[in-house]
């Protein structure tokens, strides 16, 4: 897993920004060193004890012009570097979106317009292939930021933005919402799974399938509860009558590694805990405690675990 560090670039875009950041940081470090050096020198050399008689001086026009012109030249060169860098970090040519991410309070809806796949919170991409991400928001402003893969982009309701992101090699890249969006902003995390093209194709094929509705055992009861109780008001499971659009699509919930935008690992025990009392784990989330009995929770978990 790659932590969300600016210093760990894994795409051409992130590399480009990383290079610029390093160059500018070094230049700025030199500026700080020069100023610190001058201040230290002046403080030691011209303290009253060492230098009791101040020199009367009102300025020196040449020096003044120098300390105006030199910073201006430094800034102009940084500006030049920046212009050259911008198109490499964030190419302006656009293609059709590979993926559309919609920010919600407090989770991510992820759509693949080409295949119709809909998932949540965990983005799968083929490694080595630049992906055109569309960014949208359903309620307030969010910001999609996976620094290893490229720039961040605000998701503003009412606007559609496009941004190129890529991962050079397979791996799991951690990111998060980067614009304060309310109470659970802290638990609005992202995982990007970059996969080899073969694995990605396999994942796509799995996601396109509609999971069968279980007909026996606890899972069958769970499936019935899901479609007849409150769950279906908010969640969609393709192939069933549950077509709610408020919460994440659960068609392939069991194929995901985490629950609730990274809040809990996705295993049966945590899933049960989550269903019993979501706000215990994510106090600002909009999924209520539904007052389910332990049996109902057990059956629902059994059902949801079949959604591979």
């Amino acid at each position: 897993m790659h932590p969300p560090s600016v210093f760990d670039p894994h795409s051409a875009y992130a590399w480009s920004i990383y290079h610029l950041t390093v160059v500018v940081t070094i230049l700025m470090g030199v500026v700080v060193l020069i100023v610190t050096g001058l201040v230290t020198y002046v403080c030691i050399r011209f303290r009253e004890r060492k230098h009791p008689g101040p020199r009367l001086s009102y300025g020196n026009r040449k020096v003044e012009i120098l300390y105006t012109a030199l910073p201006l030249m430094l800034l102009a060169s940084i500006f030049g570097l920046m212009i050259r860098n911008m198109d490499a970090s964030d190419p302006i040519q656009r293609t059709r979106d590979n993926i559309v991410v919609v920010g919600h309070q407090f989770w991510w809806e992820i759509r693949y317009p080409g295949t119709g796949i809909v998932t949540a919170n965990e983005v799968h991409i083929p490694a080595g292939k630049p992906q055109m991400f569309g960014m949208e928001a359903a309620d307030v402003i969010h910001d999609f930021w996976v620094p290893q893969l490229g720039r961040k982009m605000d998701m503003v309701p009412g606007y559609h933005r496009d941004v190129w992101l890529a991962a050079n090699e397979p791996g799991i890249y951690l990111g998060r919402c980067s614009e304060y969006c309310g109470k659970e902003h802290a638990w609005m995390r992202i995982r990007v799974f970059a996969q080899t093209p073969a694995n990605f194709a396999q994942w796509e094929a799995d996601q396109e399938k509609i999971p069968p509705i279980p007909t026996t055992g606890d899972a069958a009861d769970g499936a019935r509860y899901f479609t007849t109780m409150t769950c279906a008001n908010c969640h969609t499971i393709r192939g069933t009558s549950a077509q709610g659009e408020i919460g994440p699509d659960l068609t392939h919930l069991a194929s995901r590694t985490t629950l609730a935008a990274g809040r809990l690992p996705n295993d049966p025990a945590d899933l049960a805990n989550w269903i019993k009392d979501p706000t215990k784990y994510k106090p600002g989330c909009f999924m209520p405690d539904l007052g389910l009995t332990d049996e109902q929770v057990r059956d629902l978990v059994a059902y949801l675990e079949t959604l591979r």
Binding site: P3, P4, S5, V6, I17, L20, T21, V24, M28, V32, V35, L38, V39, V42, C43, F46, E48, H51, P54, R55, Y58, G59, N60, V63, E64, Y67, P71, L72, I78, F79, M82, N85, M86, S89, D90, I92, Q105, V140, I141, W145, P147, R151, K152, M153, D154, V156, P157, Y159, L174, R176, S178, Y180, C181, G182, K183, E184, H185, A186, R189, G284
Partner: protein, 553 residues
């Protein structure tokens, strides 16, 4: 020495005025010195509020997975902390010190509009209290100090917190605009004979320039707050996308105020340094004209840089490049000042009073805040680092390591004038070193943890490699910093009671505020020394400087 004729009958009236006493005298005061002191005291109170809010947040963030604060409490705390420190501490503190010092520096008896001056203060105080009343009302503002719509719109913020934010700041903001007008008219009309504009002490000059920025910027904020309030309470749709409004419009309006505001928060602080550094280096300022003119350049440019807060919004490359260019340009006049202060110290005989030490620390820390500012003007770097702890570090290096260090410097410098007593230098040393250590420990590590991916405004964070220890260092630093503030307050308290008497001019300084007793009488000056140059009191001691055209300005 006796250019000003004192009319005896006038003196009689002034003496009668002195006889009123007690708390009533303060509350009813229209005297700029009392109002200035009330500003300082009120901002110290809000500073304690804002500081406690910061410490509570740092406890919560000291380790991953802490459950010291609930998320909604944390959200209210960071909103209150930012709003308090910007609108109720730094801005009124700078205005308050200006209200005290500016009339004295130009040899005036008061501000041009003394009653308006009092109104400004009370509007600020009650605006601030109105904002804090939200705490007792049950819900404080919780959408961050820049209050991005639509999170601040009714559907996403049902409680009244954000309405309190609008109304409280609107109230205080009207007072701020009035202060701006008051400063401009005061400096324009009440300068002592001989004090031409190019002889203005730099603190007064910068307060004057600042007042023009206030007039340009504050109305943008207040107008957008009215619009937001209408959206919230009367269901208009200025910023609500579901009715044709635009959340991006709020950002343009807000930052059109917000970036000039950043300069409102630093320019008078630069003015303080431009007084302190020459006096304690025993030299006039290096390149007065460049320092004065660069301030005007900043004032003009400050209205053209707001878009650099919105690089991540995706406005397109050309708007980004425009704002990157203006933002980079504004670094030039800022650099001019840093080098002018170093030039002033060069060849001087530097006295390391506590005031001077804070000024020297400013030079280095503010430069660090400045260079990270330049990094944010480089668009792709901003695309990565905006809204992370790198920004939090940057803005605290500028506003705390910069402005507040300058304000400490200015308070150590002017406290003797305000109170008639010196602040303790011994306690001052403790205050200085603890502040430097606490400040850098708190905020330097935030650069690193920000670049490692920690975003701002999160009440908890994952236990990724090194995040925990960096946050712990920051939290420990915050408590050192909190302790240093207590030491400062202790210094103010004991020195006001038992400090060494200051006399009229303890620092052997040059500007007119030192030509009268400490504290000055209500009418400020019995007589105003003649002003022939930028350093009137120096001219008195050095009659030969009459011949030096450079002293004349």
């Amino acid at each position: 020495m006796s250019e000003l004729q004192v009319v005896p009958a006038e003196m009689e009236r002034l003496h009668r005025f002195e006889e009123t006493a007690g708390l009533l005298k303060w509350i009813t005061s229209v005297d700029h010195k009392q109002i200035g002191i009330m500003y300082v005291l009120a901002t110290l109170m809000f500073f304690l509020f804002g500081g406690v809010e910061a410490l509570l947040m740092r406890i919560q963030l000291s380790w991953p997975g802490m459950h010291f604060l609930a998320p909604e409490t944390y959200d209210q705390l960071f909103t209150l902390h930012g709003t308090t420190m910007i609108f109720l501490v730094v801005m009124p503190l700078l205005i308050g010190i200006g209200v005290y010092v500016v009339p004295l520096q130009i040899g005036a008896r008061d501000m041009a509009f003394p009653r308006l001056n009092a109104l400004s203060f009370w509007l600020f105080l009650f605006g601030g209290l109105l904002l804090y009343f939200s705490v007792f009302y049950g819900n404080s503002p919780d959408a961050g100090w820049f209050a991005y719509a639509p999170l601040t719109e009714k559907p996403y913020s049902m409680m009244e917190g954000m309405s309190f934010w609008c109304v409280g700041l609107l109230t205080a903001g009207i007072g701020t605009v009035a202060s701006g007008i008051n400063f401009i008219v005061t400096v324009a009309t009440l300068r002592a004979r001989g004090m031409s504009l190019n002889r203005l002490p730099l603190f007064t000059w910068m307060t004057l320039v600042n007042s023009f920025i206030i007039l340009g910027a504050l109305p943008a904020l207040n107008a957008s707050q009215v619009m937001l309030l209408l959206d919230r309470e009367l269901h208009t749709r200025f910023f609500n996308p579901t009715g044709g409004g635009s959340p991006i419009l709020w950002q343009h309006f807000f930052w059109n105020f917000g970036h000039p505001e950043v300069y409102i928060l630093i320019i008078p602080a630069w003015g303080m340094l431009s007084e302190v550094i020459p006096v304690f280096s025993r030299k006039p300022i290096f390149g007065y004209t460049f320092v004065a003119a660069s301030t005007v350049a900043i004032a003009l440019l400050s209205f053209w840089v707001w878009g650099h807060h919105m690089f991540a919004v995706g406005l397109g490359h050309w708007p980004d490049i425009f704002f990157a260019a203006t933002s980079a340009l504004i670094a030039v006049p800022t650099g001019i000042k840093i080098f002018a202060w170093i030039g002033t110290m060069w060849g001087g005989a530097i006295r390391f009073t506590t005031s001077m030490m804070f000024a020297v620390a400013f030079l280095i820390q503010f430069t660090m805040g400045g260079v990270t500012g330049i990094m944010f003007a480089v668009v792709p770097i901003d695309w990565q680092l905006t809204d992370t702890y790198f920004v939090v570090a940057h803005l605290h290096y500028v506003l705390f390591g910069g402005t507040l260090f300058a304000v400490f410097s200015g308070l150590y410098y002017w406290f003797p004038k305000m109170s008639g007593r010196m602040l303790s230098e011994r306690i001052g040393r403790w205050h200085f070193w603890l502040t430097v250590i606490g400040f850098n420990a708190t905020f330097f590590v935030q650069h690193i943890v920000g670049a490692m991916g920690m975003t701002r405004r999160v009440w908890t964070y994952p236990n990724l490699p090194r995040w925990a220890v960096l946050n712990l260092i920051s939290s420990i630093g915050a408590f050192v910093l909190g302790f240093s503030v207590l030491i400062f307050l202790w210094n103010l308290w004991v020195s006001a009671k038992r400090g060494e008497p200051a006399g009229p001019n303890p620092w052997d300084a040059w500007t007119l505020e030192w030509a009268t007793t400490s504290p000055p009488p209500e009418y400020n000056f019995r007589e105003i020394p003649p002003v022939h140059g930028r350093r009137p009191l120096w001219d008195l001691q050095h009659p030969e400087s009459e011949k030096n055209p450079k002293e004349h300005g």
